[in-house]
Structure formats: structure tokens, C-alpha cells
């Protein structure tokens, strides 16, 4: 491969992604101006206008574009990168945490996550059975609700040999409910006057997909977003272990054979482990030992916000309501019942226990 060929290839890649990236940026920036503009109008006119966070503006704007004029093909590769920006944002957010606080929050939330997981799994499997859903579809919904949304469903699909249709339904349901949580959780949180930490814990425990969890936290406050991301990372870290558990269950029930031996199973857990969680912890460790100084933390914090902004715009721009409607109502109802139960259970746990963590 010659140097000019490599240059041409890199240039083609940039051109392929650039339009979509610019669209993400434009939608995100318009979202921020919508928030600040509304604030300014409110102040200037002395009107008590609602302070709608840029997160929600960006997502709604993206959603409107996608579901009205649509996203032309030239923008799609760049728009589809939004989870990449989410991961970068999360890793950089690690600079805002001291490792000790992270360990404390992780250990505290782990107990709540395990309780939630047991509740979510039980409810979804029972309701799924009552609604006549197949066992594998119910399993995928349970995995998506209790752990890590889309990533867990994709890992689970391969592990239990579920078909494409089942995983499609499960992913559609989880994404739809993530959108519902994004708009309803902040309203409920304000109505209940939850503190930032309480809300962050709740969002991190109950909102299924990482992008929506981050956005839900950000729609409440920056502090709530940080707590939500830390708690969600703890949930994400469990993906391999949980999916392996389901794979073992399904191995003799029409699933695929699970490799024997601790080494092979540990390898599976490692392959499915979200590596950005390691990056998040590593950056937190650097901040803790003093490698990162205050201006560095500020710069990285700002970049983290920019990365999240691209992600939030992408959440809306990727959400196609028409395709969602085609996926059927039963998986959606089952997942919705799961979300309601998990949200109520998580909220109760947070209200009961959040006094133990500052």
C-alpha cells in the first residue's frame, strides 16, 4: 500500500463521516442556543418560562428531523458515530472523580443493582410468559432492562442463539423506553425534589441504555449526570457475567453450547466487558494521584460535555418512530411494565438508602 493510497483512503473516510458529524454538531449547538435563548427571553420579558435543558432540545430536534424530513444517506455514517462520542465523553468524565469516591459509589450501587436485576428479571420473565412472548425474547428484554440496554441484548443474542426478530423487538422496546425515561424521569425527580445524587443514582439504576442514562442525568443537572454515569458503568461492567449466566441456562434449552472451562468463560466475560469503563477508571486514577491539575480537569470536563452533546444529538437523529411502530406492541408492553417496576423499585431503594452516601 503506497503513501498516496493511504492518504486517499483517510481522505475518503473523513469525507464519509464529516457531513454527519457536522449535522450532530449543528443540532447540538442549536439545542444549547434554544436553552440559553429561552432563558434570555424569560429574563427580558419577566416571564417564568420553563428552563428546558439543551439535552432535551438536542434530542427532540434530532428526533423531529429524523421523523419528518429524514436523515439523507450522506449524513448517516457520521450520525451513527454518536455512541463513539458517548464513550469518549464517559472516559473523560473520569477526571471529575476521585478513585475512592468512585469505589464507594460503585460498591454502594452494586448492591442496589443486584436487587434491581433480580426484580427486573423476575417481572419481565413472568409478564413475558403471560403475554405469550417466547422465552428467548423475554430473556433479551430482561438482559436489556437489568444491565446495559442494547449492548447487553446484542451480546445476549449471540450467547443464547436468539433470532434476529427477537433481538430487533427487544432493542426497539429498550430504546423506546429509554426515550420515555429521558423525558419523564427529570419531571418526576423535580416533583419529588430529589437531590442531584439521588436523581443520578436513580437514573443510573433504572434507565436502560447508556446514552439515554447519560442524557437523563444531564437533563437534571451536571452532578446528577456524573453520578448516573458512574452507576451505569457499574451496571455495564456486569454485562459479561450476566450474559454468561443466561447462556448457561439456555445451553440445554435450544441455545448454543457454552465453552467449558474457567479460562474460556473468563475470556467471554472479558470480550463482552465494555472497555470504556476501564478508561473511565484509569482517568479517575490519574486525577486522584494528581497527574491531572485543575486546568486539565476543566479542559477535559469541557471536552467531555462537547462529546456528550454530539451523542445527545445522535440519540434523536437515530430514533426512527416508524420502524419502531412496526416492531409490535407486546414486547413494548412487557418492557414498559419492567421499566415501571424497576423505576419504582430503584426509586424506593434510593430514597431508603441514599442517606448512606454523600
Amino acid at each position: 500500500v503506497t503513501a498516496p493510497a493511504v492518504t486517499r483512503s483517510a481522505g475518503t473516510a473523513v469525507l464519509r463521516y464529516l457531513p454527519g458529524l457536522l449535522l450532530l454538531l449543528a443540532v447540538g449547538v442549536i439545542g444549547t442556543y434554544a436553552q440559553t435563548g429561552l432563558r434570555t427571553v424569560g429574563k427580558a420579558t419577566g416571564t417564568a418560562l420553563p428552563d428546558i435543558e439543551y439535552v432535551l432540545w438536542a434530542i427532540v430536534l434530532g428526533l423531529v428531523i429524523r421523523n419528518t424530513v429524514g436523515v439523507p444517506g450522506v449524513f448517516r455514517p457520521g450520525v451513527a458515530t454518536y455512541e463513539f462520542w458517548l464513550r469518549i465523553g464517559i472516559v473523560l468524565l473520569g477526571a471529575r472523580f476521585l478513585l475512592g469516591d468512585l469505589a464507594k459509589l460503585g460498591a454502594f450501587s452494586l448492591v442496589l443493582i443486584l436487587i434491581d436485576m433480580a426484580v427486573a428479571t423476575t417481572v419481565i420473565l413472568l409478564v413475558g410468559k403471560a403475554f405469550g412472548l417466547g422465552g428467548k425474547l423475554s430473556t433479551l428484554l430482561a438482559v436489556g432492562t437489568s444491565i446495559c440496554g442494547v449492548s447487553a441484548i446484542i451480546a445476549g443474542k449471540g450467547a443464547i442463539d436468539a433470532d434476529d426478530e427477537d433481538s430487533g423487538y427487544a432493542i426497539a422496546a429498550i430504546l423506546a423506553l429509554g426515550a420515555v425515561a429521558l423525558f419523564s424521569f427529570p419531571a418526576i425527580g423535580h416533583a419529588l425534589q430529589l437531590t442531584d445524587t439521588q436523581f443520578g443514582l436513580w437514573a443510573g439504576l433504572a434507565v436502560d441504555n447508556t446514552a439515554e442514562t447519560t442524557a437523563t442525568g444531564a437533563a437534571y443537572s451536571q452532578q446528577a449526570q456524573q453520578v448516573a454515569v458512574a452507576v451505569k458503568n457499574t451496571r455495564n461492567a456486569l454485562i459479561g457475567v450476566v450474559v454468561l449466566g443466561y447462556a448457561l441456562y439456555w445451553a440445554n434449552r435450544g441455545g448454543v453450547a457454552v465453552a467449558a472451562g474457567v479460562r474460556a468463560r473468563a475470556g467471554f466475560v472479558w470480550r463482552t466487558f465494555p472497555k470504556f469503563v476501564l478508561g473511565f477508571i484509569a482517568v479517575s486514577a490519574l486525577a486522584t494521584v494528581g497527574v491531572l491539575h485543575k486546568p486539565d480537569v476543566t479542559s477535559l470536563g469541557n471536552l467531555s460535555k462537547w462529546a456528550f452533546l454530539l451523542c445527545f444529538a445522535g440519540v434523536g437523529l437515530n430514533f426512527d418512530l416508524r420502524e419502531l411502530a412496526r416492531s409490535g406492541i407486546r414486547p413494548l408492553v412487557v418492557a414498559a411494565l419492567g421499566l415501571v417496576v424497576v423505576a419504582a423499585c430503584s426509586l424506593g431503594l434510593v430514597l431508603l438508602t441514599s442517606g448512606w452516601i454523600s
Partner: protein
Amino acid sequence: VSANQPDSPTPGAEKPTAGLGARLGADWAAVIVAAILVVLAVAGLLPSIPFLVK
């Protein structure tokens, strides 16, 4: 256990069309990009770009 089976086009969003292997690759890519940014910050070479909303 196979974690890298191909995934089908999926309703609701584009992101699920990527297989697990691609997603894990994107994981590492994000970590590497973030690591470069952290190194630049430590070296004092990262410009501070204030966010638009305080």
C-alpha cells in the same frame, strides 16, 4: 459462546446494526482517542474550549 454473530437491521435506531465485535472495537477506539486527549492535557497542549451552557 459466540459473542460475535452478525446482527440484523433493527427497528428503532441505526446503532443496533453494528455487531458486538464492531462495538467492542469502537470501545477501544474511544479509549485510545480519550487517552490521547488526556496526554495532551497533561502536556498542557489541550486548548480549553468552554461549553456553551454554564
